[in-house]
Symmetry: C2
Subunit: 300 residues, 2 copies
């Protein structure tokens, strides 16, 4: 049974200290599904405008990503994000956001998707995310991402969402904003007590933290000299993690931990080039090889 | 054969979002030696003024820390540092630094210390650190810490020092400053190529990175809800690491990695209270218990 992801599909314009790219393929659901595709077939639900080139859809379809849930709005324009990275490649500034067709996105899952057991709610408002939940009542594992924007303007809706999902993924600044607690260990558990069975706090170049009732752990990022473009790293992490869980068809604590490690490793490839450029050259054996190195790195 | 540490002995005045402490026991050599004392006898070389209370010396002596190398300057005042932590407890601002007797510190090692095999050069100028190296020609492992101040005002001397030591410990901002490279993996290896066999970059709440010719690895900090005062965490980390190496009387790659883990764990206790307050209540079995939890946390 494939994994379902609902989220943004976008053009990204990215400026780093050493290079720039204009309107390259991006968006949370794109980075997520491509990373998940190394482990499982994925159903992508999203929306694009008429400016969306067929070659992008073809690229996804070539990696067992089903795009029958990708709506194309006649006369519409695709979501466009423009951002600039600081020299440390960890902090970034958003220069432009044009939601375009994503603004009125009403996710409707094709009938074939509605029996899915594993569902990821990528970038989108809690209201939109709950609309998706209404359509996947058979799901056994629902995990959502969120953003500072929704914490600021839709906190009540986010609070409702948290009671309905199994897992939440958010970054360190968002966890602090949501809980008003600077200590990430306390913040992680506080978010967990708001509803989800587990919470994952992403820390960019510093890795990720996991919180469940009985477990607290940290996994560092895989150390790499080549950080070309961090855009999509968080979605790539989530894609690797959820892809592995879907492949294993379980999410017991041990499998979840290995899934986290796969997420870290897949994201470490994603940042090695712009857009999906590194991922297009990536094969599963390379992922498993780096996972083995990562496991070795953490054993003493 | 005991471990030797040369560095600052100080009064610290610390302000955190929740509490303040005035003129409590601190200094790099103090945090280092106390942390090392769980593993090995330590010789401390430093300087204090007449305002130094006997009870502080007694506290150190009670934990097999030999203070015969601690000079007391008649009429002098002890090094005093005052700092304030940001709400995130990771960033801090130095409000006052009174070097006092530390300014003219001329380290002279008691004869009994000069045959030591394991030596740590804590906070001090590269010139001072090289004076110590001249006195420990039999040492098999010399490791130094450094600071942004020395990178800025004594870069040539620091460059000389780097050619004479086995290991260097510095924090992330210092590594970036020294190499003018924002990527910590590249920065770590660049520093290594300046002389030392291995380099450790401390990242505060995000752990530490290790670099040698054949190894690159990252260890996250031990996740804790109780961060009361991070002062001395870096020295405590180094003390735990060097203490374990001295206890094992070797520094092969495998032992170095376990030593790093001990450093992380010991530092995680140090931050749980002001000054040495948590460390005074700490016993070795607690350290080994947390090390086991840390090892478990990192295995998947």
């Amino acid at each position: 049974m494939p994994l379902v992801v609902v989220g943004s599909v976008a053009f990204d314009s990215v400026e780093t200290p050493s290079a720039t790219r204009e309107r390259v393929l991006g968006g949370s659901a794109v980075h997520f599904s491509y990373s998940a595709s190394f482990f499982t077939a994925t159903h992508l639900v999203g929306v694009v405008g008429e400016d969306w080139p067929d070659e992008h859809t073809k690229l996804l379809n070539d990696r067992r990503i089903d795009t029958s849930g990708l709506q194309v709005v006649p006369g519409g324009e695709t979501f466009h994000w423009r951002g600039k990275y600081a020299p440390n490649m960890n902090d970034r500034e958003t220069l432009e956001v044009h939601l375009n067709v994503f603004e009125d996105f009403d996710p409707v899952l094709p009938e074939a998707y509605r029996k899915s057991k594993f569902v990821f709610l990528a970038n989108g408002s809690p209201v939109l995310q709950m609309k998706v939940l209404d359509q996947v009542s058979d799901a056994t594992l629902t995990v959502a991402d969120t953003m500072d924007l929704w914490i600021n303007i839709q906190r009540d809706e986010l609070t409702q969402l948290l009671k309905r999902i199994d897992g939440l993924v958010l970054n360190d600044a968002e966890a602090r904003l949501l809980t008003d607690d600077e200590n990430l260990v306390r913040a992680g558990h506080q978010v967990r007590k708001m509803g989800p069975k587990f919470v994952i706090i992403k820390k960019g170049e510093h890795g990720a933290m996991f919180f469940s009732e009985h477990e607290t752990y940290v996994m560092p990022a895989f150390p790499t000299e080549e950080v070309v473009d961090p855009t999509g790293a968080g979605d790539s992490f989530a894609g690797g993690m959820m892809g592995y869980l879907t492949e294993q068809n379980t999410f017991d604590p041990e499998t979840l931990k290995t899934a986290m490690a796969y997420g870290v490793v897949v994201a470490s490839f994603n940042v090695e080039d712009f857009s999906l450029d590194r991922m297009r050259r990536l094969e599963r054996p390379e992922i498993d090889q780096r996972l083995a190195a990562y496991r070795q790195m953490l054993s003493f």
